[in-house]
């Protein structure tokens, strides 16, 4: 009766002196591989978002999670006055990146997307802009 208990404890205690097999998240960080599709970022060039608001990403998005509204800047050029991604709907397929004709959007290595309220999952243009 007591023997299985001792045997079990033996395994437990032996593991206390071995190297852990799992990744010690969050103290240890995973090594994110190339091609990983995490949170989106809007690319910047010349201090401006590269996005020209062509609406191809909301058109191709299968989850319908991207909202774009175009605006006209002082030079009469088109820019995204509003660019929002509803991360609760996003399925991280990466079609938006594929569709983009001007390399304005990419997917970063950031995977920690937990949040406390629904509103926090709406990523506005400000939050998506590439941070330098």
């Amino acid at each position: 009766m007591i023997m299985p208990l001792i045997k079990g404890l033996q395994i437990t205690i032996s593991h206390m002196f071995k190297k852990p097999v799992t990744l010690q998240y969050p103290t240890e960080r995973p090594d994110v591989k190339p091609g990983f599709r995490g949170l989106h970022a809007l690319n910047v060039s010349h201090d401006k978002a590269k996005c020209v608001a062509c609406y191809l990403c909301p058109t191709v998005c299968p989850a319908k999670c991207i909202t774009v509204e175009a605006g006209e800047d002082q030079n009469h050029d088109k820019y995204a006055a509003k660019y929002e991604i509803d991360m609760l709907r996003c399925i991280f397929c990466g079609y938006c990146v594929e569709a983009c004709p001007v390399d304005a959007i990419r997917m970063t290595e950031q995977f920690e997307l937990a949040n406390y309220s629904r509103a926090d999952f709406t990523y506005t243009k400000d939050r998506l802009l590439e941070k330098k």
Partner: protein, 821 residues
Amino acid sequence: MVNLTIDGKQVAVEKDATIYDAAKACGIKIPILCHDKKLHPFGGCRMCLVEVEQMKGRLIPACTTPVTEGMIVQTTTDEIVKARKLVLELLLLKHPIDCPVCDAAGDCDLQNLTYEYKVNMNRFVDEKFNHEIDYENPLIERDMNRCIHCGKCARICDEIVSYGAYTFINRGIEAKMGTEFDGPLNCEFCGSCVSVCPVGALNSRPFKFKARWWALQKTKSVCSYCGTGCQLTLGSKDGKVLTTIYDENQGFHNGQLCTRGRFGYQFVNSDKRLTAPLVRKNGKLQEATWEEALAEVTSRLSAGKSDPASVAALATPRLTNEELFLFEKLFRGTVGTDNIDHSAGYAHEALTKGAVASFGVAASPAEIADVQKSNLLLVVKSDAYETHPVIGFEINLGVKRKGIALRIVSDKKGKLTRLPGAKTTVHAPGNEVALFNALCKSVIDQGLAAEGVAGLDALKAAVADASAEKAGVTAEEVAAIAKEFASAEKALIILPIGQGYPGHNAALANAAANLAILTGQYGKEGAGLLIMGEKNNSQGAVDMGIYPKGTGLNAAAIIDGCANGNVKTLFVAGENPVVSYPNRKKVEKALENVEFMVVSDLFLTETAAMADVVLPACSFAEKSGTFTSLGRRVQNVRKAIPAIGLAKSDFEILNALSQALGGARYNNQGEVFTEIAASVPAYKGLTQAGLKDEGAVYPVTLSAKLVPAAAKAAVQAPGKLALVTGSALYHCGTMSRFGEGPMYVCPDAYAELNVADAAALKIAEGDQVTVTSGTGAVKVAAKVGKRVPQGVVFSPYHFGEGSVNTITDGSEVTYVTVAKQ
């Protein structure tokens, strides 16, 4: 018929068809960039090259080559595809690849063909154009870098609009589509050029960057401005109407629109729209619930049932047939009052009294299709173009393509007078009836009158003393028009009516009808009298009986009744009497005096601001139903977007009131149409589903009779100018003020003077002037030109600020003095 073979298919077509037409007829698509079915063949783009067995050795353009008997045509061979690819490569050499930011993407012929022909590389290299882009124009943005030189804009502007704003300038690689001295665009802003542009060289600026073409929900509907009844396609997204989409297969006009139709849609989603009912509390209009607002209206109307004469109702002919029918049923039936009217009363009399007396029907004997089938058009007032621009395009086409003779009798010149071969007889203002009487007399004197016409003797006696001089024109002019009109195979009189034209009343309709009947020019194709109602459903309002039929008060009498206290409750559905009825002060006083006034409207108009209860109504884009256009065509209006805010359609409002007052209740507007079809004789047998996209013209049975029309004696007003009112090209009624497009190009009230008068009064273009009549005075901007003759001032009536009805009193002509401030 000519027989030919295209891609192995046998086809028989008319002998004036081209290979392109023949291919289209048998369902074979030949790619085109510069061809448009409305325009003359151009043969510029070389996309439509085909191979003809009998003309081997070279490729033949399908759009310019007429068919011949026994022709054998191949539309897609390797050689043809290679040639087409080359054409696309050469076009893409200069065309910027900015599809992501170009609004035409998705609806771009060049983009579609590039995709279809898989042109993904270019053998040639060259620099792109670097033309300056016109961002200044508020309606049409011109980016000539994207232009592919198809010439459609220049051709449509010349052939159909007859304006000629564009032309090719320079030669060779330098060639570009330019404007007058390559300056800014200064035209009618109808946007026809934008509609036909196969690429994004011409764009609608109000729609710029608003949405991509493929994201728009497209709803086929009918324009809600003038009575022409142009069909249009509304492009909407997220509950907003964002643009009108060109569809060359829509309506008699082939998708052609005027500036109001194309650029005047913004009123639908205007910030100024009413979104909640308002009820007057402590002297101020305050937001209220629908229950509260409707309860108040119901209690007033049910109190009015015991004294129906104290209740009056005015409706706008912008409502659908279903709403107007319900309106009539509610007030004439349930409440029991005959005090119902529309369009200030006088603006529909040409139909309800004039046409009824002369032809026995309250509708035009002619329809729109007759314009192009005629041999001679006699247009009353050059303003016919301004009131109904798309009918104006039909006249342009008829005159320029079919050689129809155009005669205009008008108190001023206008665009129509510049058409080739057009002859204009400018008469003294207010003398239309006298002129038509003189024409009738001339017909009789020249022995051209048809025999055995009912009422001929009475007419002979009535016009015995009519003369050209009395109308202020020469006897030769009158004799010539009379002769031409009588001897033409088919002659049509075009008569615009509306609130801007108090003189276009029953008498004028009778006088014009007399000429048509006297010469036998009626009851056949291409002949008769086309009375052009002002608003989108003017004809429907007449058909639904929105006018006093018995002893009831007409609009003018209702206003008087409000002033003297006989009318205690006034229901106004969409009308804006303060701005559009004559004598603004009198109207304002009357409406202040009336005990209880309820207004249902889209906006807090000048009239709504005086009401006790204001009900927010829906625009045409938010409801379904039918409109009847001026050619008696009943057409489907379809809902494109949900109602704005808490607004309800007039159908819902009237239905709720009708039910609360113990009247009829309908489940939906379709049920009302079924009842209309059962109870209005002209609409017998019609169903909304049966109207389909093209609508249906209801038939009329004419019983023509000559009805003498008394001409008013000429007024002598020495030292004064004759003020005539009317419609500006960019506006219709008072609603177009809420559309951004029309307001960009015509924002303020103006008075148009002749150069000689202006010089004498030391007035320059743009000066602020005071126009004073016996009724009042108004300050407006001056416009100086040669369009109006000396001694005449013209002013449009649409505007709230400086509204011309401050100085008019409902007579044909108002005599005024004009002074610089």
